[in-house]
């Protein structure tokens, strides 16, 4: 405090010096910003503009492309496969959102003062979050295996004949979605625990004196006071699940009969852009996905006023 006030006192003689100082500032700004900004233009802004341009073109079979205006966008509105991919993606997102309340409950259990083994629990729960989706996919594929997977062996113990989880169109999406949700729990627990730290323990003490049980305290204190964090996790989960790719690529793959019922929009984009070399249509798909992400996020922000309380 005292230091800043002395500098404030010393400031008056500065105007004469500030001009060269400011020019020097601009020079340093140029130096400091150069690498990041070159990278920004080269790898982000230019590619984004190029994708936008390409979405109005159609690629020829031997490279090259012709301007076809809105054709790609007209095609994607009437593409039943893309519509299915969007429906699948929304299902993944809805199921992934189940992870948000689960993370909150686990975080509350861990954050209770005096709880033992918290570090061990946190490390174990965070393991999926540091594991690459490609490896997660392989491990769960093995657990879901029809004949030798632990899940069907467990089901057989109680007399249920388990399905071909990952190749049956009726179960494949739910199976992959559960893995996606599973992978996000650890991250959610950490964010939620950080959020819980900002709730004053006085609220809980007061509620306890008034005779509120743990369930009542959870819904009357934790949920409303955590609503900004819950909102943040919801937005994050939605954005990341709408862009799901890895699990589909490794758990399902191109020859799986359940692919149409499980592939996400991003996987569909990948197929068109890199396997079928249909760059123009791929670009239009990418933009339609961007539009949906923006729309869904905007709706969430509009709805937050109804349930998110900022202190």
């Amino acid at each position: 405090m005292s230091v800043s006030s002395t500098t404030a006192v010393r400031r008056p003689p500065r105007p004469g010096r500030s001009r060269p100082g400011r020019r020097q500032d601009a020079g340093w700004a140029l130096v400091l910003l150069a690498p990041a900004t070159v990278g920004l233009f080269l790898f982000y802004l230019w590619p984004a503009a190029e994708t936008l341009y390409e979405s109005f073109t159609t690629s020829g079979p031997f490279g090259g492309h012709t301007w076809t205006g809105l054709d790609n966008y007209r095609q994607l509105v009437h593409d039943p496969e893309l519509r299915q991919a969007f429906v699948n993606t929304l299902w993944y997102t809805l199921i992934a959102l189940l992870g948000v309340p689960i993370s909150l409950v686990l975080a509350v259990l861990l954050a209770k003062p005096g709880r033992r083994f918290v570090t061990t629990y946190r490390v174990l729960m965070f393991l999926p979050a540091v594991t690459m989706p490609a490896a997660i996919a392989i491990v769960w594929k093995w657990l879901f295996h029809h004949d030798y997977g632990l899940i069907n062996i467990g089901l057989a113990k109680v007399g249920i004949h388990g399905p071909y989880w990952l190749s049956d169109p009726h179960t494949a999406l739910v199976a992959v979605a559960m893995v996606g949700m599973w992978a996000g729990i650890g991250y959610g627990v950490i964010i939620m625990m950080a959020g819980l730290q900002s709730i004053s323990p006085h609220y809980y003490e007061a509620a306890e004196i008034d005779g509120a049980g743990p369930v009542r305290r959870f819904f009357a204190i934790t949920v409303p006071l955590m609503s900004p964090t819950i909102f943040f996790m919801t937005v994050l989960t939605v954005i990341s699940t709408l862009q799901m790719f890895d699990l589909i690529y490794v758990m399902i793959g191109s020859s799986n009969p359940a692919l149409p019922q499980t592939r996400t929009v991003l996987y569909f984009f990948y197929e068109h852009t890199f396997n079928q070399n249909d760059r123009g249509y791929g670009s239009a798909i990418a933009f339609s996905l961007l539009a949906v992400v923006v729309l869904v996020t905007a709706v969430q922000f509009a709805l937050q006023k109804r349930w998110v309380h900022y202190e």
Partner: protein, 303 residues
């Protein structure tokens, strides 16, 4: 605020408050113990659900194919098959080379990301220069563009520079990040100005101030961004999949997909290979778990 203070006042000794609502202290203690047992039961169940698959992965990786596919299954491997790891490393997929590629690309991406983001972030947070707000708005706009939108043109750039199937292709776009710039800008903006002004009066240049004063002060932010970048780079599948199709130049996530195509039904080898791929990061995480978790919480709070 005042409400809670008033309520808190009469119950000075913290323990007495707990007993007030319940008839006898002994019963209250029993209730607390019961609820604690219930909580631990739930937590153990959750930990089993979240970490159990990895235990099964390790166990399967040490079984022979016959043992892994026997019904009913065995729990512990009867005769540990360490050879599965050899097969995953040398059985047609150059997993060792991929491990080297993953380490190099992760390290270089992280250094680039932290350095370039910190430089830009400091300029945005502390320097005055013409066009600052416009440029920052440009950075922010990129924050909303999902990576896949850029994928095909970024691939073209690599093709154009002749970088496909090289290490630089794995590193280049990932060295630059807008999220990191934004995160660190918030961090620099929150640091006290006193030290900086004192150094300026002593005649230190802006570059010197950035390097010797501000960077050390911003260390928690740099570590958080670094760890997030490490996790992201190590696990990234889509970009390496697109640019590097030569197995010797692949990274581990792509390598695992490739391993799966070579050994589609040999689950012990697949488990061994995927364990090799995830173990380095798990070691980093367990060794630095406090830092990692703080970093995640920090980026969540700022983001």
């Amino acid at each position: 605020m005042s409400d809670t203070v008033v309520r808190q006042a009469p119950q000075a000794p913290a323990t007495s408050s707990k007993h007030r609502s319940v008839a006898s202290p002994a019963r209250a203690r029993r209730r607390v113990r019961l609820s604690s047992i219930g909580a631990h039961a739930l937590l153990v169940l959750a930990a089993l659900w979240l970490a159990g698959p990895f235990v099964w992965q390790v166990l399967t990786s040490l079984k022979s194919l016959t043992e892994a596919t026997s019904v009913p299954p065995t729990w512990l491997p009867q005769n540990p098959q360490w050879g599965n790891y050899g097969t995953s490393l040398h059985g047609g997929v150059p997993l060792t080379a991929m491990l080297v590629n993953s380490v190099l690309s992760t390290v270089l991406r992280t250094i680039g990301q932290v350095l370039f983001c910190a430089m830009a972030a400091y300029a945005f947070a502390r320097l005055r220069f013409p066009g600052r707000n416009v440029l920052f708005a440009l950075y922010l706009s990129v924050l909303m563009v999902p990576a896949q939108l850029l994928l095909a043109p970024q691939y073209d750039l690599m093709l154009h520079f002749g970088l496909l199937n090289t290490l630089p292709a794995l590193i280049l776009p990932g060295m630059f990040g807008v999220f990191g710039t934004f995160l660190l800008r918030q961090f620099f903006a929150g640091l006290p100005a006193d030290l900086e002004e004192a150094a300026r009066l002593d005649g230190a240049s802006t570059g010197r101030i950035f390097w010797s004063i501000m960077l050390p002060l911003a260390r928690p932010g740099l570590v958080a961004l670094g760890l997030l970048t490490i996790i992201q780079s190590w696990n990234d599948l889509l970009w390496p999949l697109v640019v590097n199709t030569d197995p010797a130049k692949m990274t581990l996530p792509v390598g695992l997909a490739y391993l799966q195509s070579l050994f589609p039904t040999n689950y012990p080898v697949l488990m061994a290979g995927s364990l090799v791929a995830v173990l380095p990061l798990i070691i980093v995480f367990v060794g630095m778990q406090r830092r990692v978790l703080e970093g995640i919480a920090l980026s969540g709070a700022k983001g």
